[in-house]
């Protein structure tokens, strides 16, 4: 191996450079490291055939996603009209994916009237539920905005007897309870998923789970509760999902995906007195359950944890004064009932003032103004929005290149 290199080399003329004098391995390593903004791989794939070929390899995209870890937060969806969700990018140009790239034409897939309730997205999948007064939940759509793959599910048959009930819905990666080595991220999109519906009839909380692997809904899980409604925000900590339940007391409903059991995490009255909004969040990089108690423009963050005495309880972690943090204009104030979303993988809170929507990175308290609250009120059937649905994903050239 080394002997040949010991001979003096022939004199070399420096070649005229008209192409990248790099081996495919090195070029592969370079392209692997371009930042995961929506445009970078698309533009790289348009430079020349060689770059395009490398970027289009399925192995490359797998490695690219693994190298960059968490997918970037591209933007959020809103659903002001009760029909098609609208997308808004949170990135600056050139990474701004235009709204029409992530548009869903419901009429191509369903003839159902009534409202389409948007229930958020997790790990690249979005969930919409059709609900009509008197008829209840009629259809559930699982949509992948990147591949435009759409799955229609019928609700669990048990819902026929519960037509009046409104159910919250969420979609989770099925790997949560079967593969401990699995890290949730972009790869979840191509794997199996579960849909969880939760609702209450004021005496019981009910949960139904659909598995994409079996194609069926399981039996209902139940727990006696004293509440009127289930909150729309859902967070996931390990194998458990959490929602607020509202009634005379406000508590948190827990559903364990492994044991398929419901339980209640109590929220003592003293931490929720005179609140203006309660929202479940996650803390410690998504490993612990947290709670946001809004009081005016103050975000008080609590963490659910086991105390020194072995008894679990709520510990105050941090108070963020949004009116001081956000550079508000004269006359502008924080709207405490508009904590619009919590993007748990990015630890970003979406909040609104009387006129603007902001995102706040809870780790650094860096914030960014996103848009005007009136932006979605253009059409006459629009309702005021109280929630946005953050969407994180590697926007790579995969969907357009892999067919080559």
């Amino acid at each position: 191996m080394v002997i040949s290199r010991r001979h003096p080399p022939p004199p070399q003329q420096k070649p005229e450079r008209d192409d990248m004098p790099l081996g495919d391995d090195v070029l592969h390593e370079i392209l692997l490291r371009v930042p995961p903004l929506p445009t970078t791989l698309i533009r790289a794939a348009a430079v020349c055939r060689r770059w395009r070929h490398i970027v289009a390899e399925p192995g490359f995209l797998r490695r690219y996603r693994a190298h960059h870890g968490k997918p970037p937060l591209l933007g959020f969806f809103v659903n002001p009209s009760g029909r098609e969700p609208l997308f808004r990018s949170v990135l600056d140009a050139p990474g701004r994916v235009p709204p029409e790239r992530f548009s869903l034409h419901l009429e191509d897939h369903t003839e159902l009237g009534g409202n389409w309730y948007y229930h958020g997205c997790r790990h690249g999948r979005l969930i919409l539920v059709n609900w009509k007064t008197g008829l209840g939940c009629r259809q559930i759509l699982i949509w992948d905005p990147i591949t435009r793959d759409l799955r229609c599910l019928s609700p669990p048959p048990q819902l026929d007897a519960l037509k009046g009930l409104f159910f919250q819905a969420t979609v989770v990666c099925a790997a949560a309870d079967m593969d401990e080595g699995h890290v949730h991220g972009d790869d979840c999109r191509s794997g199996p998923f579960k849909v969880v519906l939760v609702g209450t009839d004021r005496s019981l909380a009910l949960a139904f789970v659909y598995s994409s692997e079996t194609g069926e809904w399981g039996d209902a899980a139940e727990i006696p509760v004293d509440c009127i409604s289930v909150g729309s925000r859902c967070v996931q900590v390990g194998n458990c999902l959490y929602w607020m339940i509202f009634g005379y007391d406000n508590n948190i409903l827990e559903f364990n995906l492994g044991s398929q059991r419901l339980s209640v995490v109590e929220v003592p009255m003293d931490i929720q007195q005179e609140h203006d909004g309660l929202y479940p969040i996650t803390l410690q990089e998504g490993t612990e359950l947290g709670l946001i108690v809004m009081s005016g423009s103050c975000v008080q963050i609590w963490q659910w944890m086991i105390g020194y005495d072995g008894v679990p309880g709520w510990l105050p972690i941090e108070a963020i004064y949004l009116d001081q943090l956000l550079s508000l204009r004269p006359g502008e104030c924080v709207n405490p009932i508009k904590v619009m979303a919590f993007a748990q993988d990015e630890n970003v809170l979406f909040v609104a003032s009387s006129s603007r929507i902001f995102m706040v990175y809870l780790d650094s308290l860096v914030f960014k103004q996103l848009c005007s609250v009136d932006e979605f009120a253009a059409s006459p059937e629009s309702c005021p929005i109280y929630a946005v649905y953050p969407f994180a994903c590697f926007y790579d050239a995969a969907s357009s290149l892999s067919s080559e």
Partner: protein, 173 residues
């Protein structure tokens, strides 16, 4: 010619290397050991007074690589926070080179098996790609556009928005 520094590693032995265009360089053994190829040659007893010839590495990049290895070998273990930051600053300045030199460093670091330098040059190249249009990338890296006009049109049509030149962001509110 890169000179050896006194604080480089335990061994005081100097290793001679010869560039493809016949220039001789010296560096401490600890610095040479950062190159997988040189380390194997030293272990195989191939490092002699005549110097180890590096057939594909010209004098210009080799001088830089000797610099890099000497600096990194001197600060290889037990770094204080200040030293780690100084090394980071050194790397940042070191890799501020033109595209020709960047290519030379990529090829040479790959050939010589200098892992840290390979990573540095690869990341620098990736950073240069970021934010550029395909045409700007072709210009920067001297790449010939080998798509047919039809193919190019097709590619641009697929994700038209991604190829628009960046405009200053419009005021939101």
């Amino acid at each position: 010619m890169a000179a050896a520094t006194d604080d480089a590693g335990d061994s005081n032995e100097m290793i001679r290397v010869v560039s493809s265009d016949g220039e001789h360089f010296e560096m401490p053994e600890a610095a040479a050991n950062l190159s997988l190829v040189l380390r194997h040659m030293i272990e195989d007893d191939c490092a002699d007074a005549a110097g180890i010839p590096l057939a594909v590495v010209a004098a210009k990049p080799l001088a830089k690589i000797v610099d890099y290895c000497t600096k990194h070998a001197a600060k290889s273990s037990g770094l204080t926070i200040e030293e780690a930051e100084e090394l980071k600053r050194f790397d940042a300045e070191f890799i501020e080179v033109d595209t020709d030199m960047l290519y030379d460093l990529l090829v040479a670091a790959d050939f010589m098996g200098v892992e840290g330098l390979s990573k540095l040059a690869v990341q620098r190249t990736a950073d240069l790609i970021k934010g550029k249009t395909p045409e700007q990338n072709r210009e920067t890296f001297g790449i010939v556009n080998d798509f047919t006009p039809e193919e190019e049109e097709e590619i641009c049509k697929e994700n038209e928005w991604a190829f628009q030149i960046t405009k200053p962001p419009s005021r939101l509110c």
